[in-house]
C-alpha cells in the first residue's frame, strides 16, 4: 500500500513543544504593552528573589536619627536612604524591595488555592450537571453576591487578622470566578466528538474530567489566573490598609500605606512609593493578562 501522506510533506520538527511555544510567542509579541508588562514582571520577580542582596538596608531596621528623611533628590535627603525613610526611620527602598516578596507570594498563594478549588468545583458542576450543578452554582452565586472586600473582611474578622488569614479569605472570594469559567468550558467541551471517543474507549469519569476535558479548558483559566494575580495583590493591599491584613512591621505594601496615612501632606514619599509600587505591579500583570488573552484566543482568525 503506497504511503499517501508523502504528498503532504511534514517539516522535520525537533521538539513539538518548542514549536508551539514559538508560535505562542509570535502572537504574544505583537502586543507591545504585554511585552513591556512581562519585562516589568520578570524584573519584579528578580527583585523579589534577590531582595536580601539588593536592599541596601534591613527592612525593619530603625534609624532613630533619620526619621522621615526625604528622597535623595529633594533637599534634606541623602543617598544613604535613596527613597527616604518612614516615621520610625526605616529605609523606604529596602522595605519596598522586601515588600515585593510579600506581594508576589500573596498573588501566587491566593491564585493557586483559588485555581485548585475553583477548577475542582467547576469540573464537578460542568461534568455531572443536574442537581450537583445546581447546588454548587447557587453556593458560588451567594459568594459572588457579596462585595469581595466586605466578604474578605468578615472572614478575617472571624479568623483573626494576619496575612495568612487574609490570603485564605481572598482565595475564597476569588474562587467562584474560576469555578464559573471551568464549568462553562467543561460544558462546552463535554459534547465534542473526542470526548465521546474517549468514553467509547472506556474512559471513566475521573479520567474524562481530568485527562480528557480539563487540558482543553485551560485557555480562559490562564487568563483569569493572571488577572486574579493582580486582583489578589490589590485586595491584600486593601486589607492591609484597613489593618486586617499583614500586620506591622511586615513591609507589605498595603500595610505600609496604612502606616503612612497621617503623613500624606507632611511626607509624601512615605505614601507615594508604596502606592506606585502597587500600581506598577498590578498594571504590568494586567498587561500580561491582556496579551495572554489575545495570544491564547483561537488562532484560526489570524491565519
Amino acid at each position: 500500500m503506497t504511503d499517501q501522506t508523502s504528498t503532504t510533506p511534514v517539516a522535520p520538527m525537533p521538539d513539538t513543544r518548542l514549536q508551539m511555544l514559538t508560535e505562542f510567542w509570535h502572537y504574544f509579541r505583537q502586543n507591545t504593552g504585554a511585552v513591556i508588562g512581562l519585562v516589568v514582571f520578570v524584573l519584579l520577580v528578580l527583585v523579589a528573589i534577590f531582595a536580601p542582596v539588593l536592599a541596601p538596608h534591613e527592612p525593619n531596621q530603625q534609624y532613630r536619627d533619620a526619621l522621615l528623611t526625604p528622597p535623595f533628590w529633594v533637599e534634606g535627603g541623602s543617598t544613604t536612604f535613596l527613597l527616604g525613610t518612614d516615621a520610625v526611620g526605616r529605609d523606604m527602598l529596602s522595605r519596598l524591595i522586601h515588600g515585593s516578596r510579600y506581594s508576589l507570594m500573596i498573588g501566587l498563594f491566593v491564585v493557586s488555592i483559588a485555581l485548585i478549588f475553583g477548577i475542582g468545583i467547576g469540573l464537578l458542576a460542568g461534568y455531572f450537571r443536574g442537581w450537583v450543578d445546581v447546588m454548587i452554582m447557587r453556593v458560588m452565586d451567594v459568594i459572588l453576591a457579596f462585595p469581595p472586600l466586605l466578604l474578605a473582611l468578615v472572614l478575617v474578622a472571624i479568623l483573626g487578622p494576619g496575612l495568612f488569614n487574609a490570603m485564605i479569605a481572598i482565595a475564597l472570594v476569588l474562587q467562584p470566578h474560576f469555578a464559573r469559567l471551568t464549568r462553562a468550558a467543561v460544558m462546552g467541551e463535554g459534547n465534542r466528538d473526542y470526548v465521546t471517543s474517549a468514553k467509547m474507549a472506556g474512559a471513566g469519569h475521573l479520567r474524562l474530567m481530568f485527562v480528557t476535558i480539563l487540558p482543553n479548558c485551560l485557555g480562559p483559566l490562564i487568563v483569569q489566573a493572571t488577572l486574579s494575580f493582580s486582583g489578589a495583590i490589590l485586595e491584600a493591599a486593601a486589607l492591609g490598609f484597613l489593618g486586617m491584613g499583614a500586620q506591622p512591621p511586615t513591609p507589605e505594601w498595603g500595610t505600609m500605606l496604612a502606616e503612612a496615612r497621617e503623613f500624606i501632606l507632611r511626607a509624601w514619599w512615605v505614601v507615594t512609593f508604596p502606592g506606585l509600587a502597587i500600581l506598577i505591579t498590578v498594571l504590568a500583570i494586567n498587561l500580561v493578562g491582556d496579551g495572554l488573552r489575545d495570544a491564547l484566543d483561537p488562532k484560526l482568525k489570524r491565519s
Binding site: 499517501q4 503532504t8 473526542y194
Partner: protein, 277 residues
Amino acid sequence: MSEIVLDVRNVTRDYHSKGTMFTKPKVVHAVKGVSFTLEKGKTLAIVGESGCGKSTLARILTMIDAPTSGELYIDGDRIDIADQAVTPALRRKVQIIFQNPYGSLNPRQKIGDVLTEPVLLNTDKSAAERRDMAMEMLKKVGMLPEHYNRYPHMFSGGQRQRIAIARALMLNPSLLVLDEPVSALDLSVQAQILNLLADLQDEFGLTYVFVSHDLSVVKYIADEVMVMYFGEVVEYGSRDAVFGNPQHDYTKTLFAATPRADVASIKTRLAAKAALV
C-alpha cells in the same frame, strides 16, 4: 462468508423535551422502527439528509445511546446498554469514526496517546506492547513513525481521519460505523481515505455501516443501501437495485437533486441555455 454481524430489529429512538412554563412537553421521534441485517465483510450505506435520523441510528449502533425500544444484536450477542454496562468485550465489537476530523481528536493529546488509550483502558498489555501496536497501526493507515509524538493540529484533515481510523481499529472491532467520514474532506483526500477504507476492509474482514449524504460516494463503496427520511427507512436493498430502480418518491427526488458531473449532462444544459437566448 454469510455470517450476520449486525442485526437490528425495530429500533426506535424518541427524544422527550420536558415542558417548561411556556411550552408543552414534546416528543421527537428521531428513529422510527428501523430493521435490517448486515453480513460480514459488506458495506451498508445509510443515506439521508439532515434530520433523517441517520446519525442517531449510528449512535445507537455504537452504543453511545440506548434505543427507546427494539433489539440490537452484534455478532449474535444481544446488546442492551440500558441493562448492562459497556464492557471491554462489547467495545471490541464496534467502533465509530466521526465526520469532523477537527473535533474527533483531543487537541491536547499526542497521536501516540490517542492510539494507545483504547488499549490501555481495555487490556492488560504493557506500555511497550501498546506502543508497538500503535506504531503498527500508524503504518497501516499510511502515517509515518515520527507522527507518533505530534499533536493533532499539526495534521491535515485527511491525516486526522487516518488517525481516527487507526484509533477505531486498535481494538480489532468486527463492525465499524462511519458517520460521514469523508464529507469534510477535499475530493482528492476523499479518494485516498476511501481507498484506505477499502484496503482495510479487505485486510481485516471489516463490516462497515457507512452513513453519508453524498450519493456518488455511496454508489462507489456500498454493497447495500438504506435510505432514511424523517426517521423511517423508505428504501432498502442492494446498491444496484436502489440506484437502478428507486421505488420511493423521496429516493427519486434525492437522485434527481444530486448534481451530475458528466459531459453528457453538461451538453444538455448548454444546449438548453443556448435555445433560450
